[in-house]
Amino acid sequence: MFDVIVRNGLVVDGSGEKAFKGDVAVKDGLIAAVGEVSGPARREIDAGGRVIAPGFIDPHTHFDVQLLWDGAARPALEHGVTCIVPGNCSLSLAPLKAADRPKVVGMFQQIEEMPPEAFTQAFDWSWEDFAGYRDAIARNLSINVAPLVGHSVIRLWVMGEAAQQRTATPAEIAAMQDLLRECLAAGAVGLSTSFVDLDEHGRPVPSRFADFAELDALSAVLGEFGRMLQCVPEFYDVDITIARIDQLSELSLKHAIPTTFSPVFDNTSTPDNAPRILARVEEQFARGARVWPQMQTRPIDISFSLLRPSLFFARLPRWVRVLRQPLEARLHSLNDPDTVAKMVEDLGPDGGRKMMGGLIVRGGDAAPAEMVGRTLGEIAAERGQVPAQALIDISLAHGLDVAFLAADMGHEDTDRIGPMLAHPLVHIGASDGGAHIASFSTYGDTGYLFSEFVRKSGRLSLEHAVRKITAETADIWGLKGRGRLTPGHAADIVVFDPATIDRAEERPVFDMPGEGMRYVRDARGVDAVLVNGEVAYLGGAYTDAKSGVVCV
């Protein structure tokens, strides 16, 4: 007797081989049979007209904190994602001494745009070491988790304040090695580091104070376990990114470890950059290095209101300063003509026409209906104002609760990006799931892969697209026994309609602790998701299944 049989589907098994009609049977959390399966099961799921595929794996997320109150990492799971990698970009919630918590919360807030309430209102922060964090999330998991440990927190644990002041001594490096070893033994899938990020005070994060010898020493420990080194390179500069590729390659070859970096964006204004990066990756792979560039499927867009600071203003320090103040002080500043004059001046002689003229007023909040869907440029011209001034005035008139969308900020040319996603050395990922939650939706990139690059442009076959986000991902990360519909593998399964799978429109929801807002995209065309053999999502609803594990 099988536990579950998913019947009569088109089996796309993750290998990239041609799809075939068949059934997938599950027993004791594992795939038991694939093909024409006879015999009874406790439960049958009809997959007629649907694809049966391995669950998708999302290798770049920041669900570290959300997992503490939401073991499904909603809405990732309903999109068919059955395994996530949190702890990217040098930041994780362990190992972390109690006294250093505010520091790391500040970094999460600054870098990943996570609201502070998420760290204070929804869970009991009981652990310090990595095993403690693992146990804290493991109690409640509906999704599988392969967590990275962050270089910045490892440094902070060993060096304290000096982590953001200097390079480490040999004794400190040895202590970091021991700590990393302990984390890897406790289930960390690798180490994440960052070469670009700043903390909430504008200081480089701890990992950036590490010299190459430190990274080399930590990579040696990764080599003992064969685990991943993830990094965020200076993605805004192609020469530096290539230098980072060379450094990662050196570490990969020396210590026999996989490495990955993200993001890699394609921009039509700098059309040579992504191809140069991929050319370097090809050269390094030819030498035997494993240096996987992660590329996201979705175009870049950012939404924001003046209710909170936003990435959109990253290059306008005065705006950042004003918007980071508590509400009362922020309103005071925005009502002060001198301050506003300076803010407008910061946009340059065109008053923000170039940067803000194309912003679109979003609906769904306090935005006046007659403005919704129109550009700020048009609205400002009608008002006889420059866009920056109009932005502030319109926001003030509606309690700051007017959201603006900056659409198509890059990475949107399907004909260029399709072939890159199909490239054998490009690792599809970089969703940033669970981060930047008030700027854009980091969920549904897998649906977009199928709708845009399989159905619409045909740049990838169905089988190829599935392989890219299942078996390939599992292989790159060394997630043994996952990513394939093969007997003996974990029964992580998604059943979806190949004609309709997609991400829905982006919409704001208020489901974060403290009724915090985030943008999400619902799943379209996903019928069922099984995690380790249990049905976790079916017919548009989550079940009570808690079958997710820390799967390293």
Binding site: R166, T167, F195, G202, P204, S207, R208, F209, A210, D211, F212, E214, L215, E234, D237, D239, I240, I242, A243, R244, D246, Q247, A279, R280, E282, E283, Q284, A286, R287
Partner: protein
């Protein structure tokens, strides 16, 4: 496969200041012009960073101008 030559760089040694680094990277140049050149090739450290010129252990420091 051979690696295509790319823009050459060094990484800072512990405690190294820009003068030390310039002398090490460009030993045949007079120190003043070596420092000027290092600064001009590394705006990510010497112009865009706050505080400007804070050298971090992890930095990539170019020792030649862009190749294209």
């Amino acid at each position: 496969m051979d690696l295509t030559p790319q823009r050459r760089f060094v990484t800072p040694l512990a405690g190294e200041r820009v003068e030390d680094l310039a002398a090490r990277a460009l030993p045949d140049e007079p120190l003043g012009s070596a420092v000027d050149q290092i600064r001009s090739w590394n705006l990510h450290i010497f112009a865009m960073r706050k505080p400007a010129g804070l050298i971090l252990g992890s930095d990539v420091v170019f020792v030649e101008p862009p190749r294209r």
